[in-house]
């Protein structure tokens, strides 16, 4: 009898533990995606995408209105010029959705939810990368290794890809463009250029390591990417030829952010770099705030803001002097977003899901789901 009890207990324990690790549509499976426009913040966080009023941090809507098994959101939402919020699901449905933040419906449980303007269900894997809007086209890369080009003006509610281009690799970063080409980075150690008009793959160049961030176009007309080979590399956008320009201390996860001639980025050892593309050297020696950096730096008028895994944000002026720092809480992996006078921070494992700071790092409001 005692053995039977022990056996059944072990089975139940194993089932519970495995179920706990299964990573269903739960908050905290990975870090959230965050975007904002003039009035609203958009937080893609586990089972739902939330629209939050910037004035007071109040939830205005959520999608879906009730949790659905197939949906997991953590890709950064993209707000189109005509006000649509486009976001992909990393759940089993592999769906890309466009929501109309101005067309809100209330269900019987009094939950407000935006209207779905269109969906795209042609991808085979999860959406991690935010799509890129270029005029009337949407360039969306999926973990299945395809670039899907959608027509934003075709009026279809169930979209079909105008073209699906196999570029291979796990595609986790938002494409970038120079107006003539779209540049795609892949975890599978490559950068790919696609002609924006003909959709032809122009070149596919191997990098030293996996690239989790986007490529950035420098003022010198060259592309810059950081990789898990702990290197910042410069790539000729016409030919795809590349050369390493800076050795970092550890993996570069974030997308380098350009301000004037300088690229700002961090690494997983917590070093923060200011690389001058004109001189080919650092503007100032790297600084090490207080933890690993996966979020992209945020460029503001007075300073550059750096968020760390330790849950703090640091403001550095252009000379590398720290102006202020603020402990926000939790772990910050998501890139901070500027919205008017506010700085929005979406930490993981914090007591709240979103915090708004003023320009001096003082907390204005916090948002906690369910409150």
């Amino acid at each position: 009898m005692r053995r039977k009890v022990l056996f059944v207990t072990m089975i139940l324990l194993a089932a519970a533990l495995l179920s706990g690790c299964a990573g269903g549509p739960v908050r905290g499976a990975t870090w959230p995606g965050l975007a904002a426009d003039e009035d609203m913040a958009y937080l893609a966080d586990g089972p739902s995408v939330l629209g939050i009023d910037l004035a007071d941090g109040r939830e205005v809507w959520r999608y879906p209105a009730e949790n659905e098994r197939g949906f997991i959101f953590y890709s950064t939402p993209v707000v189109t010029p005509d006000g649509l919020v486009i976001v992909g699901s990393a759940g089993t449905d592999n769906i890309l959705i466009a929501l109309d933040s101005n067309d809100i419906n209330r269900n019987e449980n009094n939950t407000s939810s935006p209207a779905v303007v269109w969906t795209f269900e042609g991808a085979d894997d999860q959406w991690v990368a935010p799509p890129l809007v270029v005029d009337d086209k949407l360039f969306a890369v999926n973990s299945d290794g395809y670039l899907y080009i959608l027509d934003l003006q075709d009026g279809q509610s169930t979209k079909q890809a105008v073209e699906a281009i196999r570029v291979d690799g796990r595609l986790w970063a938002q494409p970038t463009t120079d107006g003539e080409r779209v540049f795609i980075t892949a975890l599978d150690h490559s950068v790919i250029a696609v002609d924006i008009e003909t959709h032809e793959v122009l070149w596919n160049d191997a990098t030293e390591g996996a690239v989790a961030g986007s490529a950035v176009l420098g003022p010198d007309g060259m592309l810059y990417v950081g990789s898990f080979a702990s290197r910042l590399e410069k790539i000729d956008p016409a030919s795809g030829r590349r050369e390493p320009v800076l050795e970092a201390e550890n993996w570069i996860w974030s997308t380098p952010v350009l301000d004037g001639d300088t690229l700002y980025f961090g690494d997983l050892n917590g070093w923060f770099y200011a690389f001058n593309t004109a001189s080919g050297s650092l503007d100032w020696p790297p600084v090490q705030p207080d933890g690993p950096i996966t979020a992209n730096p945020l460029i503001l008028d007075e300073y550059v803001l750096v968020a760390t895994e330790s849950g703090s944000v640091f403001a550095f002026d252009r000379a590398g002097e720290m102006l202020w720092s603020q402990a926000v809480g939790g772990k910050i992996y998501t890139t901070p977003v500027a919205a008017g006078d506010l700085i929005l921070i979406a930490p993981l494992e914090a007591e709240f899901h979103l915090a708004a700071l003023d320009q001096n790092g003082r907390q204005v409001w916090t948002f906690t789901e369910g409150n």
């Binding site: 194993a14 990573g23 990393a90 390591g209 996996a210 996966t294």
Partner: protein, 258 residues
Amino acid sequence: MWDYFVSIFVNVLIWIYDLVGNNFGIAIILFTILIRIVTWPLNAQQMKSAAAMQQLQNDKEWQAIQKKYAKDREKLAQEQMRIYRERKINPFSSCLPTLIQFPIIIALYQSITRALGSSPLDLLKLSRSIIFPFLDVADLIPLNSKFLWMDLGHPESIPIFGFAFPTLALIVAITTYVQSKLTLPATANPNDQSAAMGKMMSIYMPLLLGYFSITFASGLSVYFITSNVLGIVQYAMQGKANWSSLLPASLRSQSQKK
């Protein structure tokens, strides 16, 4: 502590993956063989204990004390312990390999999802899990999760007439059933508790592991199947596989008469 345990699994898996030319399915199979080799003495001990316990059920002295102290459970337990001591039998050693399986399954599941880095947080955790200094993980990432028709990071199914048929789950359930039946000793004693326990395991374990295979990453199913096949081979090699127990009861009695 637990995280370190999972990290060891992650490192060994990635090391094998690198050695075998970036094939994660082969890495899981070889890793399972490694686990089987490491736990071989335990499995051998389990078989020995199961056989000794089985013999004990038919022992006259054992049966006599069952009758004599049927109403005095405390005294019965004391007498049973005395016999265990005298004959050097550890009644719990037959459970040990089964109990050890569970933390291994959980750690393997976590190490598969972490090694495959299917979400940004998993990939970030992977960067912190590398304890073997000779592993160049930055060069190996992302690991190739495709093996045969499967994506080892996701549950497996094959579409048949529009229905997603869980092939691996079925193979897991069948091999688990076969393995548990083969190791189940034949007994004629209706009060044999260990036989009743074995019978329960041969029903519930295939269902449980089949459920796990439908729900979790198919890499775990590859582990279950490999482990079951190796278990069957191990019993067969030691000449202890009870093949007749796979037959229905009526056919079994006919074959025994012959």
